[in-house]
Amino acid sequence: MRDVTFGRYYPSRGPLHETSASLKLLFFALYIVSIFISKTYTGLAVCTAFLLICIFISRVPLGRVLRSFRSIIIIALVSSVIVYLTHPQDGALAAVVLFVRLISAVCVSALLTLTTTPSEIADGLEKSLSFLRFIHVPVRDIALSVSITLHFVPVLQEEAEKIYCAQKARGASFSGSLSHKASTVVAVLVPLFSSAFRRAGELADSMESRCYDYACERTAFHESRFTSYDVLAGLLFAAYFLFTICVRLMPWQ
């Protein structure tokens, strides 16, 4: 439980941290598209290389990013093996494709949350989805919910840790057979849920007592503006994206 990286911001001043959040969200979405249109070893190599370069320039230690897929690697491996065994031909390629896609999707989302604070993400979401407001999608409320959710990942993690401590201090044992471990997880989850609801109520009270009004137009304390950084990042990313499309369309493949 201690090692959940997802949703944890890693403070630094690397170039990815400085890029505007809405742009990063766009890159994120397009990167996912690019790994799904790459179906060859070359294409996947390009995607992976790009991801590694991003991680490298982000100044987030590689280990922090890699840690995020520790839990999913089993799933990725098992599904790749199944794909390999069930595919009539080119099983190896299909398995590699699936594996690389899963892992890089997890890594890129980890990279996004590691380099962007929850409030920047919410802000970026609100900006980049604001066109949906015209068809009456409550973009702002969704963005706020997302931001609160991301804020609460580490809080709930801490809470789980506390409950774990409280139970351990009173003789609960957290090791043993798998079924015993499963039951201890439930024993932690139940109070965790009730505490999450309690916290949600408290948060709503505290927001209302400070006159939060979901209906009014909101201004931002930190106005985000596009900088030359963003232009450069956009150009580089566009180059990458076009390149993956070219690789896909190459006639000799």
Partner: protein, 238 residues
């Protein structure tokens, strides 16, 4: 020997930008039946130290040894309560020790009586209790396990004068019955009155240790003030 620390250090969030050295090179020993008070200003590492006693944290270096079963009263009782009702919460420990339901309930009722919480609270949700009641309920949950080393993190915080005195009287009684007590407190007067051994922490280091008479003597005034504490008023034991 009930508890022994040999050159214990602890670091939070090791290997991240938030790395924080909370304890460095702590050594002390608590005899069986000892009454240890740990003093130090906010952030000096008291809670970290007692979490190490209870094996909730593992030392980064050095060694912690504990003889017998320890029970911990957390600094914030909210952190300690988790069951849906008070009585179930208090029964949790005894059930984990392998008692059957009836024995656990009997032990729980005894413990609740001991801390002065009546049967009308048994079926309440612990989170709906008052702050002081929560603390007492949490204490009952610890006592129900009959620990031989009882560790308490600021047990009197948030209690009124009477409850605080009766809590200290209870601890005194347990101590006379042979329970080793390790208690964190900000109240120097409490430490002076009850402790057989006092430890003073300053920024994660153990700067003074010994009997109340030794530690709170005038020649230690500068060290104690440097640690952000005051000598107890002469003759003002509570």
């Amino acid at each position: 020997m009930a508890v022994r620390f040999s050159n214990v250090s602890y670091i939070y969030s090791r290997g991240t930008p938030f790395e924080k050295k909370a304890l460095s090179d702590i050594s002390f020993e608590a005899e069986k039946g000892d009454f240890v008070c740990i003093c130090g200003k906010t952030g000096s590492g008291k809670t970290t130290l007692i979490k190490l006693v209870n094996d909730l944290l593992r030392p980064f270096s050095g060694e912690v040894s504990l003889d017998g079963r320890s029970g911990l009263l957390f600094q914030f009782p909210e952190d300690q309560l988790f069951a849906p009702t008070v009585i179930e919460d208090v029964m949790y420990g005894p059930l984990n020790l392998g008692r059957n339901k009836d024995q656990a309930r009997e032990g729980a009722e005894k413990a609740l009586l001991c801390v002065g919480l009546g049967p009308e609270l048994y079926d309440r949700n612990p989170f709906t209790l008052s702050g002081g009641q929560k603390r007492l309920a949490a204490l009952a949950g610890v006592l129900a396990m009959k620990p031989s080393v009882l560790v308490l993190d600021e047990p009197t915080a948030g209690l009124d004068f009477r409850s605080s005195r009766s809590l200290m009287a209870l601890l005194h009684r347990l101590n006379t019955d042979g329970v080793t007590i390790i208690m964190v407190t900000h109240e120097m007067e409490l430490a002076q009155e009850h402790a057989k051994q006092i430890l003073v922490l300053d920024k994660g280091r153990l700067v003074l240790s010994g009997s109340a008479g030794d530690v709170f003597s005038q020649r230690n005034r500068t060290v104690i003030e440097k640690a952000g504490l005051e000598l107890p008023e002469p003759g003002s034991s509570l």
